[in-house]
Symmetry: C2
């Protein structure tokens, strides 16, 4: 662990507010080197997925030419929201270090805690209704995937 990387993320997050971005930043570190940074740019780029961790993960993968972050550490100014946590599990870095807690984000007006709680709510009762459409062809994509030779697993 290197606390200075967390501090760098905090500084980037503070600076990003001055650029009308959200108060979040993240770094991806490999072998002690920062290989990518990301700041929240949801409103600047009209992209609701452009959270700091997402931007940093995408940039680090671009730099590495890989779709995984093997051997990398992620440092972030705040505990990841559910979207970013999910992205981290797909990217599979070694470790994640964070400064503020997601309750702190909630206190500042962000939906992090709300979304975490929604995940435990039955589909039909969520604030965004999620409706299971029964279609007899629903399994076809997975059948195609399982039977495909030489596929690139991820």
């Amino acid at each position: 662990m290197n606390n200075s990387f967390v501090r760098q993320a905090i500084e980037l997050a503070v600076n990003n507010v001055g650029r009308d971005g959200g108060p979040f930043a993240a770094l991806v570190v490999k072998d002690g080197i920062v290989i990518a940074t990301g700041v929240n740019q949801v409103t600047r780029t009209n992209d609701p997925t452009a959270h700091a961790e997402m931007v940093a993960i995408r940039e680090a993968c671009r730099v590495l030419g890989e779709f995984q972050l093997a051997g990398c550490d992620v440092y972030t100014s705040c505990e990841p929201c559910p979207m970013c946590l999910g992205a981290l599990y797909w990217a599979r870095p070694a470790r994640v270090f964070f400064a503020a807690m997601h309750d702190d984000a909630t206190a500042a007006g962000f939906d992090d805690s709300f979304i975490y709680r929604q995940m435990a709510v039955p589909h039909s009762q969520r604030t965004i209704p999620m409706i299971h459409v029964v279609d007899e062809q629903a399994a076809r994509p997975f059948e195609a995937w399982v039977s495909r030779p030489g596929k690139t697993q991820y």
Copy 2:
């Protein structure tokens, strides 16, 4: 609800496997019109965040010039993973329709159920360790955000 949109997502997902993409696709529909589609392109683009729903959400926001999907419906070939579910909550469409269940994705070798379960595991016991770094400056980004006049909330 229009079942034909779910069927379109299934067809796109099947076709995507033939292009060495993952077996997933999604559509964003507004006023009965498909405004964006997305297919999984994680391995094709070296981007672990490039799930079908993420690609479709980003494209729909680009088309609309907005960072929200107000009044839109999302149709997806499979129940969203935690990352995509989080993204949907940030994008805030009206409704989400899905065909296969996340257990079906798991049965085909994807981590969806595993990631959903990890969210309930204490930070230090997760398979990707998440480490809270105590830094007395951790609150500064949120303080900057709260005190900023005229900021664009999201």
